[in-house]
Amino acid sequence: MSNEFGYVGTAKPTQAVKSNSGVFSVNEHKELIEDKKILSFGQLELIETKSISGTPSTFSFDTLKESIYDVHFVTITDYKPQTDDRHLMVRMKVGGTTDTGSNYRYAMQRINTGSSVVQSANDSKIWLAYNIGLNREGLNGSFYLYNAGDSTKFTFLTSCNVHFGIGIDYNYQSGVHDSANSVNGLEFSASAGNVEHGTFSLYGIRYS
């Protein structure tokens, strides 16, 4: 870093978030932001927004910046499958490759006209929602992802989604990729057929 923060000599203060000293010029402040050494406005940092184009079989985020963030947040807006009444799944990518092994567990509470539980251990995916309609209002929701970048821990998620399937359907759930690996991507797909419509945004939560 080039600046002296108004100090002379060699005993410059160490700059760190919530522990800054000195009077900063505009350029110094910019340098501190770039070096993540000063608190900047907003810790919900957009990594990527992607909209489904065409009718692909899968839809992915291939960069989580998992070495920076311990907690991620994903929003899903107006998602629809290509075929009516299909479920939406998420799988983790390890080393850039989607893990399709039996390394997932989930527990979902559905709240609809017939409240039900969806749960599984040693599964090959995590369902985010069931019976999403093609010609209805689609799915909107979000989930948090925990520990993705820690190769010594499992990667967890908690989610809440609402959609109009066979009537109004709200669900909340907890899930885990129970393999101690660094997760560096997410892949979404439908239970059968392709995905067709929706916008997904991936955020990292700084200092988590």
Partner: protein
């Protein structure tokens, strides 16, 4: 509409602790807060997490002033919906059945209206951890049964000490 998060305070511990307190952290600047908890390890399998608040005198509120309704989600077996209380000394569960194998886990606690002296303070929780029995999730709603200004929050590790990161954000 919420647009972003702003860091207020964080504490990160690799030591096993029975509780974590964040004091003098709520203000008129925000009406909503997010508390993010990630786990490193626990002293033993089992146990669960609770929450209570500090009042405007910076004194812990440990009377029977909390009500909650929570569900314990599991990847197998019936969900436990018996986490209900109307006069508890703390709010629970934030998280359930951590483990001593350093498998991690996460929890988000949303806190509403703590700075208001005329409203109750409300809490919504979601979490995922991993115990010997597999995946353990929690979904909990609750509130502090008193219209008073809340200035801080304490996370309690019940029946097990844990090492964990606790980070508080204001919701902009």
């Amino acid at each position: 509409m919420s647009t972003n998060l702003q860091l207020i305070k964080s504490t990160k511990s690799t030591d096993l602790v029975s509780n974590v307190s964040l004091q003098n952290v709520f203000s008129s600047q925000y009406k909503e807060y997010e508390l993010h908890i990630t786990f490193h390890n626990a002293s033993t399998n089992g146990g669960y997490g609770g929450l209570r608040f500090f009042d405007s005198s910076d004194t812990i509120i440990d009377g029977t002033e909390y009500a909650y309704a929570g569900s314990h989600l599991k990847d197998n077996g019936s969900f436990d919906n018996s986490w209900i209380d109307t006069d508890a000394t703390f709010l629970a569960p934030l998280y359930l059945d951590a483990n001593d194998d350093s498998r991690g886990g996460g929890c988000v606690v949303k806190i509403f209206n703590p700075n208001s002296s005329s409203d109750y303070t409300y809490v919504v929780v979601e979490s995922a951890t991993y115990g010997d029995g597999g995946l353990m999730g929690a979904k909990t709603l609750g509130h502090h049964l008193g219209a008073e200004t809340i200035t801080g929050v304490q996370i309690l590790n019940v029946s097990s000490t844990r090492s964990l990161n606790v980070v508080l954000y204001g919701v902009l």
